[in-house]
């Protein structure tokens, strides 16, 4: 089990790995976004399903006493990747919520407004996923020290939160 976290793969096949990961993650986040159309219920189910898988993995590694190492291994790219997938899910929920509770607008107008706003988020999500795939494909495989991995992951988390929240433009009403 330790071998799966440390030194797996060496330096071979990293580019391929990164591309495949990006492809997979992008499809999951597109799915999370698009399923928002069905009043966001499937988006939430998809997120719960994926987070359930993550929890199971955490439990498994905790049983083997490798929880901190696993967390560090995951954090390298996970802070970026999970953040992006959560944003995609949020975009989907935004659409679903506006279709279910359109407020003053007609349902079609509310859906259109929410959809356009959420699509903007999706462009950012795809960019974040490219960064995540590069981190996952290269940084994680080349760096073996759990502390260094955690540092990268935390740095990315701080970077994204800072980028998305500290310098955000005024929220349109």
């Amino acid at each position: 089990m330790r071998a799966t976290i440390y030194g797996s793969g060496g330096e071979n096949g990293l580019g391929l790995f990164a591309a495949a990961l990006f492809n997979n993650n992008a499809q999951v986040s597109i799915l999370a976004f698009a399923l928002g159309f069905a009043f966001a219920v499937p988006s939430l189910l998809l997120l719960v399903h994926n987070m359930g898988g993550l929890g199971a993995m955490l439990w498994l590694f905790h049983g083997a006493g490798l929880l901190p190492d696993f967390a560090a291994w995951l954090m390298v790219h996970g802070t970026t990747e999970l953040f992006a997938i959560l944003l995609a899910g949020a975009a989907g929920v935004h659409i679903g919520r506006n279709m279910a509770f359109p407020g003053e607008l007609a349902v079609l107008d509310a859906a259109a407004q929410a959809g356009r706003r959420a699509a903007q988020v999706m462009v950012g999500v795809v960019l974040m996923l490219i960064v995540a795939a590069l981190l996952e494909g290269f940084a994680r495989q080349l760096i073996d020290d759990p502390l260094a991995r955690a540092a990268i992951g935390l740095f990315m988390l701080v970077f994204w939160i800072g980028y998305l929240f500290a310098w955000r433009r005024g929220v349109p009403e």
């Binding site: 990164a18 492809n23 992008a26 959809g115 699509a119 903007q120």
Partner: protein
């Protein structure tokens, strides 16, 4: 956002059956307050466009895969001894091809429709062939957000059941259940454009877009045509009228429209009067014999000059405006 007003075109002749193309007419008030007429694309033309596009995507994917496979066999086909010597190089070449393939497939699947619809034409090659295009439902600009939203939804409308189906077949899942689920899925999303008036699919609803007819535009026939217009030659006297920059720059769009009206009315005394005025203004000698030819030539050349200016963003609304 202003809700578009949906109403079929008024039919004064009551007993004539409503044509399908009339039923698909819509009038939208744009954000600028202009009533704009649209004809919603028929379901059949949209289905046809989609089939052409999917066929194109399939061919593109196939060709890319074959080319990459050809390159791959080129790498594998190297003499065994050389490959062993440089296994690192061979391996990274393999990897590079793999990365290319994954990225190409991702782009064909997700970016093909977006790329074409984001361009000014707002239509994929299939849509262009079918004579339709994507437009914003509120009559405003078709934004990038809308195109992205409507095409991300395409992923669950079309490709998701195929993906589940492939997964079930490759992992030995229950194929019968996968077929039923896939069919139910496709039917649900297919039903959406069938049950609403404007033929909106799920992606259109979320993006605030619709697909409308975009017949190939033909330039409206010119008011004046023939020798007089092209050459500025009078058929009566054989004289040729050529106006210079200074002579054309004295008038603007308003005067052009007045001149057009005079030419349409075609009354001799008006023609003579206007010809005299213009001659005085540009410093020509009046009494050229053929007022109509003179005015036609002036109209054509003034119009060409103003249209040329407009293409470069310089308008001259009337004669009082700057040199434009």
């Amino acid at each position: 956002m202003k809700a578009p007003s949906f109403r079929p075109r008024d039919k004064s002749s009551g007993n004539r059956p409503l044509l399908d193309s009339d039923r698909r007419r819509r009038s939208v008030t744009t954000p600028e307050g202009i009533a704009l007429g649209f004809t919603v694309a028929s379901r059949s033309s949209r289905a046809g466009a989609l089939m052409i596009d999917l066929g194109l995507v399939f061919v593109l994917m196939l060709v890319t895969t074959l080319v990459l496979a050809y390159l791959l066999f080129g790498v594998i086909g190297l003499p065994q001894s050389r490959l062993e010597q440089s296994s690192g190089a061979g391996n990274s070449a393999l990897q590079f091809l793999g990365v290319l393939w994954i990225i190409a497939m991702f782009l064909f699947r997700n970016a093909y429709f977006m790329w074409f619809e984001l361009r000014p034409r707002g239509a994929t090659p299939g849509k262009r062939l079918a004579g339709i295009r994507v437009a914003a439902r509120d009559g405003g600009q078709l934004t990038a957000d809308a195109v992205i939203a409507r095409n991300l939804l395409r992923d669950i409308e079309l490709f998701l059941p195929v993906m589940f189906y492939a997964q079930a077949s490759s992992e030995g899942g229950d194929m019968g259940a996968a077929t039923i689920a896939g069919l139910a899925w496709v039917t649900t999303f297919l039903a959406i454009p069938l049950i609403n008036r404007d033929h909106l699919r799920a992606g259109d609803i979320v993006a605030g877009s619709w697909v409308v007819e975009a017949p190939r535009a033909r330039l409206a026939a010119l008011l004046v045509s023939g020798d007089t217009a092209r050459e500025g030659r009078s058929t009566l006297t054989g004289a040729r009228f050529r106006f210079g920059e200074a002579e054309l720059s004295v008038y603007g769009e308003y005067e052009l429209q007045v001149l057009e009206r005079v030419l349409r009315d075609d009354r001799d005394e008006n023609l003579a009067e206007v010809a005299r005025t213009i001659c005085a203004k540009i410093g020509w000698q009046p009494g050229l014999g053929d007022d109509r030819a003179f005015l036609t030539a002036y109209y054509t050349q003034l119009r060409a000059r103003l249209e040329h200016g407009m293409r470069f963003g310089q308008r001259k609304p009337d004669k009082f405006a700057g040199t434009g």
